[in-house]
Assembly symmetry: C2
Homo-oligomer: 422 residues x 2
Amino acid sequence: MQKDTGSGGPSTPRLRRRKGSNEVPPELDKANGGRLLVNDRNKYKSMLIRAYSSVWMIGGFALIIYMGHLYIWAMVVVIQIFMAKELFILLRKSHEDKHLPGFKHLNWHFFFTAMLFVYGRILSQRLVNTVTTDKFLYKLVGRFIKYHMVTCYFLYIAGFMWFILALKKKMYKYQFGQYAWTHMILIVVFTQSSFTVANIFEGIFWFLLPASLIVINDIAAYIFGFFFGKTPLIKLSPKKTWEGFIGASVTTMISAFVLAYYLGRFQWLTCPRKDLSTGWLHCDPGPLFKPEYFALPEWLPGWFPWREISIMPVQWHALCLGLFASIIAPFGGFFASGFKRAFKIKDFGDSIPGHGGITDRMDCQMVMAVFAYIYHQSFIVPQSLSIEMIMDQILMNLPFEEQQTLYMKLGQSIMERQYGES
Amino acid sequence: MQKDTGSGGPSTPRLRRRKGSNEVPPELDKANGGRLLVNDRNKYKSMLIRAYSSVWMIGGFALIIYMGHLYIWAMVVVIQIFMAKELFILLRKSHEDKHLPGFKHLNWHFFFTAMLFVYGRILSQRLVNTVTTDKFLYKLVGRFIKYHMVTCYFLYIAGFMWFILALKKKMYKYQFGQYAWTHMILIVVFTQSSFTVANIFEGIFWFLLPASLIVINDIAAYIFGFFFGKTPLIKLSPKKTWEGFIGASVTTMISAFVLAYYLGRFQWLTCPRKDLSTGWLHCDPGPLFKPEYFALPEWLPGWFPWREISIMPVQWHALCLGLFASIIAPFGGFFASGFKRAFKIKDFGDSIPGHGGITDRMDCQMVMAVFAYIYHQSFIVPQSLSIEMIMDQILMNLPFEEQQTLYMKLGQSIMERQYGES
């Protein structure tokens, strides 16, 4: 990758020619001193379009956050459907599809099967908690959850058999290509982005903070690159510069630390949602969100307004998220760029003016969603939730008699331990 | 698929020409009365070779079953590595690889990351149970399990970044193709076959019965097809006939019912293995493996030796497995055939004389392994194991004080329910 830095040119013009020139990105132009492009007006026009749709997106996003977990989930589902649509179309060839009536619906069969599987898994516990008042519904939902895996499996197998029976002479390669492509989309795009939903119900905080950090990092990289961009960062994305990358990293780390403090004060954001209602949330947000006070050093001048600062423990976790969002998540963007290069496309779609397709905007978000989920599961959950989770499991999965048996066994085990240690 | 049955011919000769003719399968030859091929000697020679290596495989397999869970696991791992090797080589182009030093090792990085992840998940509980006597090891293993997900995630991310940094101009398409191919192998081949390992530790029965049924079905289909094969079943695999398919189905169903009875009598096969030792197993195998006696009708003639028959409940479950093994699992084979057609290869490899590569023999096994796992989880586990599983979870995951809290909470919940119901 390092060896042939000089040959980065040839592919750029080819890509630019395909664009239809309604957007010219702040690319590097060494002949012009590395800062400004020849057609400067276009550069600013493009920035305006991009800023305009960014403001709309952020506004809509804030409204949805205010409306609550179910609406955020709905938003994620809509985004996922749009992304799948963009990507399914990408490698489809209408010439081949003409000979394969109905074959293109198979993608969606797999997509909705995956959706039922993933969301069933994530939300089953909440669904149970939502319907506990109605005995009949409770039993129905219990049954649904019990056979959830086997149902999804048979839906998948049905798609698998459909695929095999739809195989048609001379189209094998195209069809297997489509099958592999569908699966890649379901894993790389759908499954990854679904982790987001698990985060949402653990507390909007764990969805909002990572997602915001990616947005902040993107915008900061764009602005720093726009004004100071000189040194190319990676050949895959000629728009990206070291100046943008470093400036964005610093901005993101600071934002993470500050943002966590402000977001962490709202119970609406920090409480986990344990059912599927949209009502108000009250909870003890736990030690992570309790400010701790640190005295500032004595030698600070007298006019300095603060004697101590308050920091929530969650802010240190936010720094880890910020670090990931600014250093590793951008690789999601590089991956997408490389992919677009490989298949000679400019954008995955054209849904958002100035941004390209939805998938173009989500590349880093997906990497971040998985990290946020795993980080939360590994470093946050063990400190707070486990007793309640096990209680839920017992109350849901075991019939009453077995709960009593378990109670006795646990009592025995505790007795033995106490006896053994004393 | 149904429309152009007549045009099935053209592709067969092309494939046959590529074979190097060391094996001629019992293909249909309508001009010869549908039963015999022109070069009959080759047909029998090929059958002998195939029978010879089948006997060796079955013998070795029986020995490994006798040696126990850890050895079966080791066998699965070896098979998985061989399959991965066969498949990684398949779409690799040495011309392209010359320009990408080190790139081909990336496959194996992903492979071993997947291995660590999957087996860590399946076996962590057993690992804990194995080391409970040593306090230090216990803590170490507990820590490993706690950070298992995050470790695997970072290994994966490392591979992901390696991939992006290894992207090289003009090779993008080849490299993204390799990336997608690696992931497809990891999902379709590795993850699917790993379900087998979960089955093994639930009781060898749940691994041995499904695997045997596939072998029985394959052999029966081969024999019935060999002697009675006339009507082509599916164009994808010209070797397969309706006669073979139906004969094999009946054979498999009967074998499933009979085999389950004999396998179900050995505790070595029915007991779950809860640690990673190789010692002898004793357990109450549960109601599924307790024979129930059914009186035969009175009108049976006096010379008929039996007045009643004994049936284990697990035999009815075995029928379901048999049904799947004979009706749906063969689609795994069709899929593999179609894939080989699409990419114009005869076999995935040449490890087993007369059979082709290991992957060729495993295609249906993988489909079956997933089904057996899901069937066991959905229909068998809920009847027997849940109390113990939750106890394990409590004893492993909660510190002692929290176990006490949980005990109190559970007691409260039981009290409330008893009070509410009376």
